[in-house]
Symmetry: C2
Subunit: 778 residues, 2 copies
């Protein structure tokens, strides 16, 4: 009787096998070759653990010299590789610089090897050859055959625990390598210290501290084994002075505790009879005690198969926001993009709420979940706005995590790039203010005063790149900063978001101060050429100046041609500075159609010809909003054409399918918004600029329970233009929609055609937000 | 009116200035030259902080080669030196190996120098010349003039805070060097990581992690400044890859956060007008948050002068156990010895009870104070018994700290040498069991079952030096361990303490097993020569064997001549093995009178001719109980002679006044017991073996409120023999007293004479405890 009840309950919880579920569309292999920098391994939505195979360990730095192809290994994996070094537990998704690869495990049989060996001589080390024929990757699950050993490896994960199942070849005793030296973007000296304790024959604990991109990264672990260790040992590849100096007993074999800089350990198991070994590796940034808590809470008593099913279910429920019509490739691309928006940011606290703060102290998260991995120069643009739309509770917690970061910061700054409780200062601007403002503008976050305080503090740190001068002169001067022009543009936009928030908080003095700062973009505009151009402290513009050159011209990851459009908060003001609407449209057109000579990108690892649409570089973020800028002009229909063109060119269901680093979901969020037909050009407003739907039909299940259906019957590469639009039956002629309009749900019906409707959206009222709206068209 | 009240209250609290207080007798300079390894700086009783000048920084190890004279700098200070490098916050008192010297501050004027410079070229670095004429050292206070700068430096301390007062020369602006690289027994790579935050212009926080004798030592700090920093900066002497790699702002000047391996920072102050700067440096092993708590709780709102007075009062009340008659030199030696018994062990937890455990996790001390620095091979002998007698509550907490250590140990072992939450495995045996047994025997500790569990676990760790073989064969074989004979002797005694505790706990099976193990000393006795001698696994003794040689003969820090007497728990059994009483007495006599050829100690840094009494080496602990062994013979009066001889030879009120390393109070506790006239030959019994009082009159204020008065009118080097003794008027003829007898207090009156009373103490009943008592004299 009892069994029957359970069976029925299980059936009710899972869909029939023949129905496709969201996870079935996801292809984690997309972007795993070349510059996508995604990884194929197992993780759960926003989890701390990303358990994935590393196919190489090219050090980032050898004798102080940068190693160029280390860059390819930002996520530890290149599809073209033929060997797997092992399975490590932390990976960044699609970043443009990297770190992590913590706590590597590798199962093996035969001779114990404590070095990974080289890719071209795999037999030298513990790494193994593999083929993609044996590889299977779905959300929360990864499987591969390690050919050198005949070991089947299966991986799954919970939020804080990586779970391994190894099936050893019949009749052979297996062993496990635990390499505490291995890491992504490694270099000699990156590992500051490691500790390992064999608590008993099925439990290991330990930690390592690294000095990587995360300057001081504490990774504690607890490893539970399904079978007892028979024998074990380790080698410390760098002798330390004190490791039991006075002792005359052998500490390298069956001695249950070791600390050192370069510890690689091995553990033997009796697998000749029963060939399966399950290994659960819990992480914590707090302590081994925290790791044990995480281990017990998330995996206690559960088998690999149960945990793999739970991970799959977890992804299914998190991904379950959309129903779309499309080709299999379109569905794969869509759901994989959705998947990629939910890997980072990552939960960064123990199950009991304890987490390591920016001050390296242990804090208790009260009333929120603490997150890390905020690649904000990228993600403020579309990733966080996307989360505001479909995961507002998570984004609210992310905002709260950022505010705590500011409160723990000795600089009083919100994160620039938060990585495992560290600030790595990567890229420019202080764009966390945009994330806070956007969440406030959309009602996702309500502690406006606390947020505003953090925003003001962040934007007034004098020693932060050029800010003292920016506050004095109204721009960052080129004699003080190599990114003078782009930083000025970025600060001006960021300041506008503070202005918006101050208005919301009713702090009019603050608002007025930041309204003025928001207009600072004007100070780096050379109206004589109609482009942004860096100035010196004395007010003069840089003389020799190449608007197509990214390096040495006062910009970062974007030339003046692209960056000059970076005034999302005051597009009309920018049009004015560029020489009026006609010139502006001409420049936009030219951006997408020009031929960019190779010399402008040949030294940039990120940019290849395939990443380009004319001079528009989709792989670098500063231009992500640019195709939508036509909305402010008399030719808004051009957005519809160029966005579809970019979607087709830059996103493919392929190992090389991403037109640049995914950047922690930013590229994917751009894709998802653009497929839906709208994009948050200016986060901090409640407006999304309209493009056109990419698919004939899309249903969005909103977090408030409403459903928005977006229909575009017959849409295609030919029929890419919006003839007309009705929202819930009523004609809609504006070039933007508000957040509230989306949340109301209902049906949006786009009538598509192969030629543009050049009369839509031309009135002032149809145009999206601009700080100086009305000035131009008065 | 109010002022008057305060004045009266103050007068009531402090003694008139003309009365000598205990602290006035203490001379912290004793033992600061040569091999005493004591330090002259400021600390409080059992405090975490020992703030003291370091006069050199000779690295322990250069390119893997041991640096011989590093050994002299175990406490960071040699009296003969002429320069001071700076003032660091942690020091070991009298150890025979070393570490620490954490968080060095040095005030200076003029050019900023970030290297210490060499002793023979002090101008090269920030160090300064000084003379002892300007030096003043009393308990809790140290003062010196830094001649190179004209800066007066004054130091005091609380338990967890080092307090500095610097008076800069008039009209000059001063600066402060914070050297996070500096350390005692340093070597390149010892500092694993450092972090520094300038929280505001009067508060710094940070930490460093070192790999020293304490394998992984976390020292967090919070530094409060009485005057605002004008400007600051740092140099990281070893480039690290990521320190804000992406940033183009100057992080080396006025940038409030830095991490690195070799950070030296400087801070400028405006002292031209007001010349005093007070600096409070709080330590914590938990976190910077913990350090700030410690800072506020212990020093909040208090001036240097107030804290210096509090430190003095603290010492006065802790030292206030004795009133003695004696010469000024005798009083200095006595009170300084007392002082030295109260420096280590040290409190190792924050004011809120949080502490870092042996598992590197943070624990909460519930109902006890957590201590570290247990130099147990030394201190089980007399230091802990001394604390049982005069500081039982502290010793009970130390025992509790050891039990927690065992519970946090992956080995399930009580500490061998506990150093800042680390086990450094220094020296042999597992003598913590003796400390537990002694505290239990004397009623200081009552959780006997918990203690016994920890003791049994400790003594059965098979991989601990030779224990597996010891348990199998009854001795540690020489083919397995270089200290086979001495370890066997030590384990046998230790096992006897477990036997005693098991009896107390009523666990008769355990008691019987350990009674047998306690007799294992017999297995390394070669009765054909009457000395302990190592055996091989096959049972044969080592063939070529030199009873005077310390190295290579199966012993450690003691030759067979000395170590053969190491059967404190079964002296009568030992006498039997040595060939009977007559031979035994002859051997004892010979030990104290022989000429030890120089070749036996010329390579031992610790031993010089001055340390020797015949072949007896007082500087190394294994023989400390030996002069008292006459009590088991028919010539107990010889103890009275030799103990006085050793007291006179080995303890002098002088920079070279200690006849060996003080060893965390062990040498001092030996002195204090011996001066009182009794000594705990066999900790774990409640008995003390009687010698003779050293001084004509001594009053001991017992912790239970009773007073014990020990009178020996006319005692002198001539009148050194006990003619008769009365306890509270009743004649007493035993050669031992019990703990309870002491605790009762009253008056002990020794009648001294210049010739021994050879009839006293000859009965079996007069003899102290022996495991096989009665066997010999039946």
């Amino acid at each position: 009787m009892k069994h029957k009840v359970i069976l029925i309950a299980m059936m009710a919880l899972t869909l029939p096998v023949w129905a496709q579920q969201p996870v079935d569309y996801v292809n984690p292999i997309i972007g795993t070759n070349g510059m996508g920098h995604t990884f194929p391994g197992a993780c759960t939505p926003f989890g701390l653990v990303q358990l994935s195979p590393d196919t190489d360990t090219i050090p980032h730095n050898v004798n102080g010299a940068y190693q160029k192809n280390a860059y390819e290994y930002c996520a530890g994996y290149q599809y073209r590789d033929q060997t797997i070094v092992g399975f490590s537990h932390t990976h960044l998704s699609g970043t443009g610089h990297s770190d992590l690869g913590d706590i590597l495990l590798m199962p093996a049989v035969g001779e114990v090897k404590l070095n990974p060996g080289r890719a071209d001589h795999p037999g030298e080390g513990y790494r193994s050859r593999f083929t993609h024929a044996t590889e299977k990757a779905t959300p929360g699950y990864y499987e591969v055959m390690l050919d050198d050993y005949g070991i089947k490896a299966q991986l799954t994960a919970t939020q804080r625990v990586g779970v391994h199942k190894y099936t050893f070849p019949k009749g052979k005793n297996g062993h496990l390598i635990l390499d505490l030296v291995h890491g992504i973007y490694n270099y000699d000296g990156k590992v500051l210290w490691t500790n390992l304790r064999v608590e008993n024959d099925t439990l290991l604990t330990g930690y390592r501290i690294t000095n990587g991109w995360a300057r001081t990264n504490y990774t504690y672990f607890a490893i539970s084994l399904s079978r007892p260790i028979k024998e074990y040992g380790y080698k410390d590849k760098e002798k330390v002075l004190y490791n039991g100096f006075w002792r005359r007993f052998n500490m390298e074999r069956n001695f249950p505790e070791i600390s050192g800089r370069k510890v690689v350990a091995y553990f033997h198991f009796d697998t000749a009879e029963e060939s399966e070994l399950e290994v659960k590796v819990a992480l914590s940034a707090v302590s081994t005690e925290g790791a044990i808590k995480n281990l017990r809470a998330e995996t206690g008593g559960k088998s690999f198969d149960e945990l793999a099913e739970a991970a799959r279910n977890d992804w299914n429920s998190e991904l379950d926001h959309f129903e779309i019509a499309g080709t299999p490739d379109q569905k794969a691309m869509f759901y994989t993009s959705l998947y990629h928006t939910m890997i980072n940011p990552s939960v960064y606290m123990d199950v009991d709420g304890a987490y390591r703060g920016l001050d390296h102290n242990i804090h208790q998260a009260k009333g929120f979940t603490n997150y890390t991995i905020f690649s904000l120069w990228d993600t403020y643009r579309a990733e966080h706005p996307f989360l505001n739309l479909i995961k507002p509770e998570r984004n609210a917690d992310m905002v709260q995590s950022m505010i705590k970061h500011e409160q723990q910061s000795v600089h009083g700054m919100l994160p620039v790039w938060s990585l495992m409780g560290n600030e790595n200062w990567c890229m420019s601007g202080y764009h966390a203010v945009s994330v806070l403002a956007d969440a406030i503008a959309k009602g996702v976050v309500t502690n406006t005063d606390e947020a505003l305080k953090a925003m003001v503090s962040t934007s007034t740190v004098p020693y932060y790149e050029g800010v003292a001068d920016y506050m004095k002169l109204g721009y960052v001067p080129l004699d003080k900063s190599g990114t003078a022009a782009s930083s000025t543009l970025e600060y001006a936009y960021d300041d506008w978001t503070i202005y918006q928030t101050a208005l919301k908080a009713g702090q009019t003095d603050v608002a007025e101060a930041y309204r003025k700062r928001a207009l600072n973009y004007r100070n780096v505009y050379d109206t004589s050429i109609g482009f942004a151009r860096p100035r010196y402290s004395d007010g003069t513009f840089k003389k020799e100046f190449d608007v197509l050159q990214t390096y040495g011209e006062g910009f970062i990851e974007g030339n003046s041609w692209n960056f000059s459009f970076h005034v999302p908060h005051d597009v009309l003001g920018m049009i004015d500075l560029m020489g009026g609407e006609k010139t502006f449209i001409k420049k936009l057109d030219e951006l997408f159609t020009m031929h960019l000579p190779e010399k402008y990108y040949e030294h940039n690892e990120d940019i290849t010809e395939e990443c380009l649409v004319g001079g528009y570089v989709h792989g670098n973020e500063p231009s992500h909003h640019v195709p939508y800028l036509y909305a402010w002009t008399s030719q808004p229909w051009k957005t519809q054409y160029w966005v579809r063109h970019i979607l087709n060119r830059m996103y493919r269901n392929d190992i090389n399918g991403l037109g640049g680093n995914d950047d922690c979901g930013q590229m994917s969020a751009w894709y998802l918004f653009s497929v839906m037909g709208f994009y948050p050009v200016c986060p901090g407003t409640d407006q999304y600029v309209l493009g056109a739907p990419y698919l004939p039909s899309l249903k969005l299940k909103l977090p408030n329970g409403n459903t928005l259906e977006i229909k575009a019957p017959g849409v295609s590469d030919q029929k890419c233009y919006v003839q007309s639009l009705t929202l819930n039956g009523k004609p809609y002629d504006k070039m933007y929609v508000t957040h509230d309009t989306i949340l109301k749900g209902g049906v949006w019906e786009f009538k598509m055609s192969s030629s543009p409707n050049k009369r839509r959206g031309l009135t002032n009222e149809a145009k999206p937000y601009s700080l100086t709206k009305g000035i131009l068209n008065k």
